[in-house]
């Protein structure tokens, strides 16, 4: 009787088996001895990769000021219309973020969110990141509209979050930029965009060749006492 390369006929009492069936059964047998990949939640939890995209967190600087300047870029980048922001002016008495404005209202409708991370990519100050919280449950849809207090990291905590995993770390000799509370926006102070992800060098030599052009900076820094 002729036999092809693929078909090895096994004589058995009840039926004939092809090689593919044997391959399948071998796979089953191989895995029978192995440990299952099931994680018995909630007693155990799966270890998440560093760039896992879970619930959002709004970050702060080390001196306690919020990073978010209510620029609306995250709301604009979001493909699912999740974020609703209302901005407010920072005053001398009530200063929330470095710069002119902060987010008075920052609502996220997590039912709409697809956790794509576009908001994290769009944020110019590294304020919003997607962290590893994924256990989001509620008994009603209203409870899943997270407000700013629920998203903001508590006072005293000042982390960069998963931005450290997504972007290059800052050079070792660069100090974390500490935002000043003045109204002046300078190259090495925390302007809205110059902070970035903390990867810009913060100390730079002054390369000015023209003294006159530097007049304003000297005056504001108090170095210029020519008026005395």
């Amino acid at each position: 009787m002729l036999s092809s390369e693929h078909a090895i006929v096994v004589y058995c009492k009840e039926y004939t088996m092809s090689f593919d069936i044997i391959k399948g059964m071998a796979t089953t047998l191989k895995n029978m001895g192995r440990k299952p990949s099931t994680v018995s939640f909630p007693e155990q939890e799966r270890e998440l990769p560093p760039r896992f995209r879970g619930r959002h967190v709004l970050h702060r600087y080390e001196n306690g000021l919020e990073r978010c300047v209510a620029c609306y870029l995250c709301a604009g980048a979001c493909p699912a219309d999740v974020i609703y922001i209302e901005a407010e002016e920072n005053t001398a008495e009530h200063r929330v973020s470095p710069g002119e404005r902060y987010a008075r209202v920052f609502d996220m409708n997590l039912l709409r969110c697809i956790f794509c991370g576009y908001c994290q990519a769009a944020c110019p100050t590294g304020a919003i990141t997607l962290e590893h919280e994924y256990k989001l449950v509620a008994f009603s849809p209203e409870e899943l509209i997270y407000h700013k207090e629920q998203l903001l990291e508590p006072l005293g905590q000042a982390t960069v979050g998963t931005n450290a995993d997504w972007y290059e770390p800052p050079p070792a000799d660069a100090a974390q930029p500490v935002p000043q509370e003045s109204h002046v926006f300078d190259g090495f102070e925390a302007t809205a965009a110059s902070v970035g992800m903390g990867d810009l060098p913060t100390e730079r030599p002054i390369l000015l060749a023209n003294e006159e052009q530097d007049e304003d900076r000297r005056k504001l820094a108090g170095e210029d006492d020519s008026h005395l």
Binding site: C71, A87, D216
Partner: protein, 722 residues
């Protein structure tokens, strides 16, 4: 070939595309006509070209080698223009690189982000990166220029659009350029605030976020806004505006160019005074029970009103019902209001708050009371006389139009008891005593009739009338004083000999004591001096509110039906209805007559008061039934402005839940009173108006379009349509 170019156009070629434009057009405008974008900062179509920003470079063959600025170059026959050569592109990148050197990294916190010319042009024409690694210059910011405007000196790119607007268009307390060179900055004169009523225009024309509005500060981003073309509702000029709405609140109004009305500008009242749309709104009907106004449902309210009105009709008859209409609701709604009162309730008592005009039409010319010239005609006048009118306060955009006429050589004459903003531009400011406008008009008329060039024999009736008032006129002359009397004489002579004189007076000035004949006399003045129906000449009242003229056209008057036809039965006027004990039931729509009565309360003999309004006004607080209406931003309809442009307002917001449009309320109420009207919407009502009203003949919702239509009375079948 010479024989092909018989038209008066100039033929040029831009980027190998031939285009024919009118002579005097700038290359930039010609390029825009065929859809080629040339970036620009300092140029503005309504201002003379400057050429300061050096952004709009193009290369023109046979002109000097460096690129030319297209905003200052006038087209000439056979010109060949290139906008995308290597040199032009390099120049644009270079200019943008220079502008970005000191421009702060403020995009995330700047209000202009999303609608910023610097952002847009850098993206499309700019260098890919920066070579600047020094420190940018810094200034303290923001600097308040006024209560409404904030200046950010770091963002300013010195295009001078704002300062040129203030110097050339609005010509009042404005922004100026201080210092020169790298120290140049925008500011105000020392100890001055930028408190012009046109300051909002500088925010709109600033290409970057240097000038920002305090009311709009940090409210939203441009991409979150929904834009609706509509018309401003705050004065009778009816400037075209674009309502910007975020979610369910109006955030700002921006201007929308209509060369016939607003010339591309918008005053601060229109731009920022829309608080009545967002706040303090009535959300349910209210019915007075046990002395208190309590919320009720719509059906309940309608049944209650229908029952009470039918009772009043039965016991006291239709004469006991009165209606006070509104100058701010649409034409369609005013029409339905008077139809409700006249056809359904059968009462002739209907009026609204307006100036004093004897009769619906002027006895001398037979025309209804309105401006005989168009707003654009003001530019062609050689003399502009403002009698008891202050457009800067009441109709601000007309003030800009008068200044434009002045720049083209017109003389301004002001007859007013108070200081006005135009005083310093007036050829002659005639200060009359308080309430003296009526007498001043008579003196002007007398002087005009006595002028040699006027044929007084044609107007013998007028002359005899004046003669009979000789004593009062002599008294007035003495009160005014010799100087004022001479000035009035001089003004009358000027008007007689004028190439085109436009005489305007404020509608409400006719209500002052002694000024009942102001309208008649001023109109007569224009007629005897031949200043009617000629280009650049005209006369008319400056109406108070957005649809004052529409209310008159629609017959919300005791002595006129729609289109000023005679009534069969004269009704009570506004003040009569408020003071007569005959009125038992009053229906007040969009008006606040409690402000115009002597005591704090309306008549105690009034038994039933219905008030339909957007907020709880003083009158509404005394009402028996309050019906919540929607504002102009939440409904559609047509409104008629001061020179009879009929314009469409469009819905920018969803109607406030619980409130209804006025026309819906009228239709419902008519149904409850037994008359079933079959209107599906304001467009249907407009169609009916167009069929019956010669002023609105051939108008439909589609023809109104985005710019409105200026109409005049159609007399007969073949009268010309303007």
């Amino acid at each position: 070939m010479p024989e092909e170019q018989r038209d008066n156009l100039v033929h040029i070629t831009i980027d190998d595309i031939p285009v024919a434009v009118l002579p005097g057009t700038l290359v930039w405008q010609a390029a825009r006509q065929i859809g080629i974008e040339i970036p620009y900062y300092c140029y503005h179509p309504k201002m003379p070209p400057l050429g300061a920003c050096r952004m709009c470079f193009v290369e023109v063959e046979k002109m000097p080698k460096p690129p030319q600025t297209s905003c200052t170059t006038v087209v000439s026959e056979g010109m060949i223009v290139h906008t995308r050569t290597e040199r032009v592109l390099k120049a644009r990148r270079g200019v943008l690189e220079f502008l970005l050197i000191n421009h702060p990294l403020d995009c995330p916190i700047c209000d202009k982000g999303g609608e910023c010319d610097l952002q847009d042009f850098t993206l499309r024409h700019g260098p890919g990166g920066t070579r600047f690694d020094l420190f940018k210059r810094h200034f303290p910011k923001p600097v308040p220029m006024s209560n409404d405007i904030l200046l950010d000196r770091e963002r300013c790119i010195h295009c001078q659009r704002c300062t040129r607007f203030c110097a050339e268009i609005s010509m009042d307390n404005g922004l100026v350029m201080i210092n020169r060179g790298f120290r140049m900055e925008v500011g105000t004169a020392p100890n001055h605030v930028f408190d012009s009523i046109f300051s909002g225009n500088t925010v709109e024309i600033c290409p970057v976020g240097a000038l920002t509005a305090a009311t709009f500060r940090f409210k939203t981003r441009p991409w979150e806004l929904k834009h609706t073309p509509s018309v401003c509702n705050n004065c009778s000029v009816g400037c075209n505006a674009r309502i910007d709405v975020r979610v369910d609140r109006v955030t700002r109004l921006m201007s929308r160019t209509n060369d016939a009305i607003d010339d591309g500008w918008l005053c601060n009242r229109g731009r920022w005074e829309f608080g009545f749309v967002n706040e303090n709104r009535l959300r349910t009907p209210l019915i007075r029970r046990n002395g208190q106004l309590q919320p009720a449902g719509w059906d309940e309210a309608f049944l209650f009103i229908a029952r009470r009105l039918t009772e009043t009709l039965k016991t006291h008859g239709p004469q006991a019902i009165g209606g006070i209409g509104s100058t701010r609701i649409t034409n369609e709604e005013s029409y339905l209001f008077q139809k409700l009162l006249r056809d359904v309730l059968g009462t002739p008592n209907i009026d609204h708050h307006h100036g004093f005009f004897p009769g619906p039409r002027d006895p001398l010319t037979g025309r209804p009371w309105m401006m005989t010239n168009s707003i654009a005609d003001i530019e062609k006048a050689s003399h502009i006389a403002l009698i008891a009118a202050d457009p800067y306060q009441r109709q601000p955009i007309l003030d800009l139009r008068i200044k434009k006429a002045m720049r083209q050589g017109a003389h301004i004459y002001i007859v007013n008891a108070h200081k006005t903003e135009l005083d310093r531009f007036a050829a002659s400011k005639i200060t009359i005593p308080e309430n003296g406008a009526g007498m001043a008009a008579k003196l002007l008329l007398k002087a005009a009739l006595q002028n040699d060039k006027v044929d007084a024999s044609q107007y013998s009736d007028l002359y005899t009338q004046l003669q009979s008032q000789e004593k009062e006129l002599k008294e007035a002359e003495t009160t005014f004083g010799l100087e004022v009397a001479t000035q009035l004489q001089f003004l009358a002579n000027e008007i007689v000999g004028a190439k085109g004189a436009i005489i305007l007076y404020d509608e409400m000035a006719t209500l002052a004591p002694g000024c009942q004949n102001l309208a008649v006399d001023v109109q007569a003045l224009a007629v005897v001096t031949n200043n009617i129906d000629r280009p650049g000449a005209g006369v008319g009242p400056l109406f108070e509110d957005a649809n004052s003229l529409g209310a008159r056209d629609m017959g919300v008057l005791p002595d006129a039906l729609p289109s000023y036809q005679r009534v069969q039965e004269q009704g009570m006027s506004y003040s009569e209805m408020l003071s007569s004990s005959q009125i038992e039931a009053l229906y007040v729509v969009g008006a606040n007559p409690a402000r115009h009565v002597e005591g704090p309360e309306l008549l105690s003999t009034l038994e039933f008061l219905i008030v339909q309004d957007v907020t709880l006004t003083e009158t509404a607080q005394q009402a028996d039934v309050v019906l919540p209406a929607v504002t102009f931003a939440e409904k559609e309809g047509s409104m008629t402005n001061v020179d009879h442009h009929v314009q469409a307002i469009r819905r920018a917001l969803r109607p406030l839940p619980g409130a209804k449009a006025d026309w819906e309320i009228f239709v419902e109420l008519a149904k409850h009173l037994g008359h079933k009207w079959s209107y599906c919407g304001p467009q249907d009502v407009l169609r009916e108006i167009a069929q019956t009203n010669p002023f609105y003949a051939s108008l439909s919702w589609e023809t109104l379009g985005l710019q409105g239509v200026r109409t005049e009375e159609h007399i007969g079948e073949d009268a010309a349509h303007v």
